[in-house]
Symmetry: C2
Subunit: 244 residues, 2 copies
Amino acid sequence: MTLRRSRICKGCWQQMHLPVPLHGVVSVPFRVFGIRPSRMNPNTCTICELMFTTVMRARKITIDATVLFADLRGYTTLSQSHSQDAISGLLDAFYDECASAIWECDGLLNKTIGDAVMAVFNFPIRHADHARQGVLAARAIQRRWSARRKTLIEPLGLAGAELGVGVGIHCGELSFGEFGRSHRDLTAIGTVVNLASRAQSAAAAGEILVTQAIHERVQSDLAGSRPREFQLKGFEAPITLYPA
Amino acid sequence: MTLRRSRICKGCWQQMHLPVPLHGVVSVPFRVFGIRPSRMNPNTCTICELMFTTVMRARKITIDATVLFADLRGYTTLSQSHSQDAISGLLDAFYDECASAIWECDGLLNKTIGDAVMAVFNFPIRHADHARQGVLAARAIQRRWSARRKTLIEPLGLAGAELGVGVGIHCGELSFGEFGRSHRDLTAIGTVVNLASRAQSAAAAGEILVTQAIHERVQSDLAGSRPREFQLKGFEAPITLYPA
């Protein structure tokens, strides 16, 4: 896995024109104060992660952003019949490929939950075309995973397992920040997050499904994509989704 | 919300007999080195969180533990018709009540994902009766939330919304640690986690459903609980669950 590492924090540079070193000797004094590469995107720093509290003095912000969910199909079934080691090796590989794909597109790998990952685009690194970055990251996940999966089947004894990835993407206004007074944990909430998650549930293994909102912003990359209607949990009206 | 704060880290004390101060003047030198109350359980410290890498020199461990999922019902529907502020106020309150209930029972609030929380019991603070701690925490969540919810309906304009909590609990061996080489994030994986999550999906608003494994360990607290069979996604055979 190769990922071009940024030498200074891209978020701090973009938003404050502040060169915060992330690696090497010059980063040492910063590290003493807890400023280091973010776990969610190593090209940004921990200041960016906590930008709400340390810079903006807010606990949460409302932003226009893209949310991506990717989920490993067949994982629940698989984890009943395989050793913890095999499952853990599989997830290591899956998280790594997702992380690389997301970070290449300047996204934030916000959460890993069992066999699923959730990413946000347009924060803290801004991109006017964040919807497109989300689609590119989703395609990179599919491409990377289908190559990586082949190398795992034999060593992990996973022959016959499905192990495709389903991806869902949606964009719009969402709340991002720390919810709850007592437990501090960065998360995104709102309909955008819920619908992205539901789109992911609707996607078949190997498929990427995006919403109308994504389709409107990324038309050139989705030419010829045929919309389908889905009845999604928690949404009364049928939802139109496009394969990407 | 009142929560008795521990003055020293309960995890470090229990496992290494090391008194790591969490609050006050004596904690300052520790804080300089990044040792502070954990975000996941303020009665433990950041050393405990990273115990794998700093103390045990492993990246993940296999432990016998209890996993609890709690989810706010009706949230997806609600977030379509209410302001971000109302939703965010609602989640603030929900996370806080869950955190208090979980921490009182020495659990780790490992993740918040949209309207759901995931907790682990028996790490880093050990409890031989962790299954019972999980059940007590679940009951505390239901009790706290049903009181708190009433105070929110009017100020947030949520009249008529369901807003009950569904809880699922399971226990057994799971892998806990950092998965993926590039993205570092503590998480638990394995069938125990999957089944706890599915039990939660099966629970109605206001209900707690526990597995056979929990029932076996906590019989005295579940006397008279009538088992029901459920067909759960990803599991071929029907699964027996007990209301707690």
